[in-house]
């Protein structure tokens, strides 16, 4: 027993774990753990990389915090398109990105993909069952996904994962300039013969920093004072303009 442990430990240490050793089949990390939204922010990208210990497929998922999302549906009334119905998704990821070493349907069966929410079509986007029949619910789900795709917050395709040799992998996850803030999870799955044999989660913070963060926090936490200051700035600016241009 102890001899086996030593062998495994040595093998892992040397990066040459033999096939069948389940100790650390997957190791992954992100190139940064903070996506900072600053004054000049126009989007960012994060590298997710790691090493696998046995041949298999890798899927990387980055998801933003789950939030309730309100959706509206328009219909044409007297020639004008008006929101006539609405629906609330109690829990939907505010951001979702996925990368894979092979097309997802070649990696695992649908029930496995669904269980781990791999791929945008496998997201569990639930709405109150009493509010809609399955068909209607599917329309709302599709609507939500299309909207998030247009905003660049859900992917329109599965990114590729590049391999260096058989063990080292890496992929790039892109964040648009309208990326929501919060604590994200970078999830890496190792899938062998259609089964998830290992998974690792790494937190990733998306946060406004510096002046942006201060203005935003101030606006939400001291709304009244923020309003007063906004008015004062305008009054002073108007007065200065009058002084500056008076002949």
């Amino acid at each position: 027993m102890s001899r086996a442990l030593v062998i495994v430990a040595l093998a892992v240490f040397a990066g040459l774990a033999p096939k069948g050793a389940k100790a650390v089949p997957l190791l992954a990390d992100t190139s940064k753990h903070l996506v900072a939204i600053t004054t000049g922010f126009t989007g960012d990208e994060v590298l997710v990389f790691g090493t696998i210990d046995e041949p298999g497929d890798v899927v990387v998922v980055v998801r933003g915090p789950s939030i309730p999302i309100v959706m509206h549906r328009k219909s044409n009334i007297a020639g004008i398109w008006i929101n006539t119905a609405s629906m609330t998704f109690e829990q939907a990821p505010s951001f979702y990105a996925v990368a894979s070493s092979k097309p997802l349907d070649e990696i695992a069966r649908p029930n496995v993909l669904a269980r781990h929410e791999l791929g945008v079509e496998n997201l569990k986007l639930e709405i109150p069952r009493a509010r809609a029949s399955p068909n209607v619910a599917q329309d709302w789900r599709a609507g939500l996904i299309r909207n998030q795709q247009r905003r660049g917050l859900y992917p329109t395709m599965v990114n590729e994962i590049g391999f260096l040799g058989e063990r080292l992998f890496r992929t790039r996850i892109e964040f648009p300039d309208n990326v929501p803030t919060g604590t994200y999870q970078a999830e890496v799955y190792l899938i062998v013969d259609g089964h998830v044999v290992s998974a690792q989660k790494t937190p990733l913070i998306v946060s406004k920093v510096g002046a942006e963060a201060e203005v935003y926090d101030f606006a939400y936490q001291n709304s009244a004072l923020y309003g007063v200051i906004a008015i004062l700035i305008a009054l002073v600016a108007g007065w200065l303009a009058h002084i500056a241009f008076r002949k």
Binding site: H72, K74, I80, A241
Partner: protein, 303 residues
Amino acid sequence: MQIYLPIAEISLNVFLLLGLGGAIGFLSGVFGVGGGFLMTPILIFIGVPAPVAVGTEANQIVASSVSGVLAHWRRGNVDLKMGTVLLVGGLAGSTFGVWLFALLREIGQIDLVIRLSYVTFLGLIGGLMFVEALRAMTKRRSAGGMGKLHKHTWIHGLPLKMRFRRSKLYISALLPLGVGFFVGVLSALMGVGGGFIMVPAMIYLLGMPTAVVVGTSLFQIIFVTANVTFLQAYANQTVDVVLALLLLIGAVVGAQIGAKMSTRLHGEQLRILLAIMVLGVCAKLGYDLTTTPVDIYTIGVSH
């Protein structure tokens, strides 16, 4: 150079915003209009969320009205008493308007109401301006030949009569209160000062002398838009000071240049140009409302 706007939560080009402020400011300097009715829709077109466009524009109008009113104040063109009565109505109206705004936002109809209000008023004002300018060009007559309405109508039978010395009027206080209230609601919903409605209402409905109209209108706009700014910031968090600051820097400079150049420009041609712009914005908004949307499903405000 891109700048990330903390409340609008998008990044836009700094020079685009300064230039936009400058262009609209220039127009407002030439024509003596506030420009909010053009700025807010254009902000929406370039991707600013409609509620943020409205709240932020109110903030910017505070600044342009202050610099405008100071000039009129020195010439004694502000009827303080009339301004105050209008203002009381305006404060009530804009407070109600911001409350209505929050309610409409909650039920997902705020974009529709903002756009519909714009289509209605831009169509009306743009159309009138266009016709008037065309008439002036063809007949080459001095403008403003409407004359005052001295007929006694039901308006003069209203109670609560008040004397407004500066405006040489003895009318019911309910009238300016009502006008103030109505424009206040629009100010909150549309992110405008409302001068483009207030000024004609003062001339034709209240019968005020034209000399004091603009100064008095600007005077009350400062307070009404300040009220809107405060309430939008307080209740809806839709005032982006960074955006407002960039716009107003452009706007105050543009307005001064416009005011200086207005004497050297051909008024009628410019007026037609402005009318065409107003109608263009109106047409774009109307087109968006009536053509099949890209997606009938949209995401509302999350809370």
